[in-house]
Assembly symmetry: C2
DNA sequence: TAGATTGTTAATCGATTAACAATC
DNA sequence: TAGATTGTTAATCGATTAACAATC
């Protein structure tokens, strides 16, 4: 019987939020932070935070809290933020360009080292200091540079072909912003960032606002992590 | 005791994926689609699909499947894609501009009717046919136009102030792309789209690829919906 | 009829939370 | 010592899945 020994996904998704809270605490000069304070940022009770941190064997001081600096360091380590992650991005449309210069990525160790596009009109363009290359260079370059991650920001109907090129170049992690499901072998890690689908869930909540009541009183659903929704409806 | 009578969030997040699969089936000329086919797109078994669809009282035909056209229509209705959703967007940086012209939004009923920015240099700019307005116009305009949704694409340190303006203007749904947690009253629906946090979870998987084994054999974790990760590791 | 697929139940699995002794 | 907060257990809650009679 297979047994997963890693951290549960919901817990993992909360860690970056705790990390951010710790940075804020450090900036404010706090040396210790309690599980309840960390929990507020992620909309979970302190007990959940303590459980989450227990997966990385973090030890807090009873009566005091967690050492902010130490915990922040452990989280950086656990989340691999200290490691360099080199990525290629395919599709330099509006969304692709936005990601290329997204300020949060570099801080978290992500380097987008090469850009590609199918459109001949875009080839050779210089975007944030990087030249847009033709697709037929992707496979070879990915292999030579040992690139781990591919970011897909092309229209849905082109995404599968792009993913296939990436695989052929030895890429094993794909961050897919195209609104579609990719067919890929099981050893490839795929993360879908599907804005249209997210919009659809928001749309549902708007349409059904007044039906989705609870039977007695206030409800508090919190769906952080995973894209993360805080839905609190009466 | 409060009892939530709505559809579970994980189910809700899968519906847009089923919907997309149905569109593809219709385009291919299929009149009926089975739960297993729909499930493939979302990486869940057919039983899960049938359960999900049971929340919207959908009826399939045993031995045949679901009527693709009818089900697609029901999903559009249930997800509120047929309704117009008017939104204001604050922060016309790279990400903001990308969202303004994101092709998937209009198809799902989202109209971004006004743009705002704090930067005087950006005021008056014309982006996709809409002028960038100063922040001090937001509250009044939101109220006058009865805007439901606010999209935040400003840096983290400006996001809370923007959200407060939106509330003051009567906005009740906030789609927050700033990497931070907003403090808002419980009757406001907040969806966080936190790309840096998502990157951190990917980063973790990359860093721990070879530790996160299962005890016996292959593992298949599927975390669609919510941003959606398909992690399949040995 | 035989084959396929549904809707639903019951079992399983996994995450959240309350509670509390231990400890700073 | 008194107050605060931890780590962990056990109870609860909720989602997934297997199984199968019903039905096209």
């Amino acid at each position: 019987m297979p047994v997963n020994v890693g951290i549960p996904q919901p817990s993992l998704r909360r860690l970056p939020i705790y990390y951010r809270q710790l940075e804020a605490a450090l900036e404010a000069g706090d040396a210790y932070v309690s599980s309840d304070e960390l929990g507020k940022a992620a909309n979970v009770p302190g007990a959940q935070v303590r459980k989450d941190l227990s997966y990385l064997a973090e030890e807090g001081r009873p009566g005091v809290g967690y050492n902010a600096k130490k915990l922040a360091g452990h989280l950086e380590e656990f989340l691999g933020l200290v490691n360099d992650k080199e990525a290629m991005l395919v599709g330099v449309g509006n969304l692709g360009r936005a990601l290329i210069s997204y300020p949060g990525f570099e801080r978290y160790g992500l380097q987008i080292v090469a850009l590609f596009d199918q459109d001949p009109a875009k080839l050779g363009l210089n975007i944030a200091g990087r030249k847009v290359l033709p697709m037929n260079k992707l496979e070879d370059l990915a292999r030579r540079l040992h690139i781990q991650m591919g970011i897909i920001t092309v229209p849905a109907d082109a995404a599968q072909a792009v993913a296939d090129h990436m695989l052929a170049g030895g890429i094993t992690v794909i961050w897919n912003f195209a609104p579609c499901t990719l067919s890929l072998p099981d050893n490839i890690l795929v993360k879908n960032e599907d804005l249209a689908a997210e919009l659809a869930t928001l749309s549902h909540h708007i349409a059904h606002r007044h039906e989705e009541h609870t039977k007695e009183t206030l409800e508090a659903v919190s769906l952080r992590g995973d894209g993360s929704t805080q839905v609190r409806e009466e």
